[in-house]
Symmetry: C2
Subunit: 83 residues, 2 copies
Amino acid sequence: MANFMDVHSGFFGVTAEQLREAHERDLAIEQDEGVHFTRAWLDPDSGKAFCLSSGPSRESVMRIHERAGHPTAEVYALLIEVS
Amino acid sequence: MANFMDVHSGFFGVTAEQLREAHERDLAIEQDEGVHFTRAWLDPDSGKAFCLSSGPSRESVMRIHERAGHPTAEVYALLIEVS
């Protein structure tokens, strides 16, 4: 298991309710791939969204996002973290 | 105050110790701008780093990163969050 950050572009003007709906579509199927999406953030002015997840691979994260209707190729393995 | 995500590119092969040193350079001066950097993540293979922070403005985050030696123009205001 590893942690991942994925980036989505083009989410201009998306509302909190719409982001929650999109996130819940991920949560509804994430177990199929052993993924868990922990947080999602959005800058509606730039259209950028970020999701933090854990899972077995980049591809597993990508498959859940694709099936949930918001595919992205930008999934980064967060091998190093500081806080 | 708002939350921000910033993205850095080109951090290929950076180690955990190097990321910690970079993060600590931010922490050492962040109060000058009323910013706080809470977490930083790195994918050393793609060279992408992400920092989560809170502060008064995008510009305040950018000024701290610039003074700490790792400037970026990619700072996003996370007006919407779900978890």
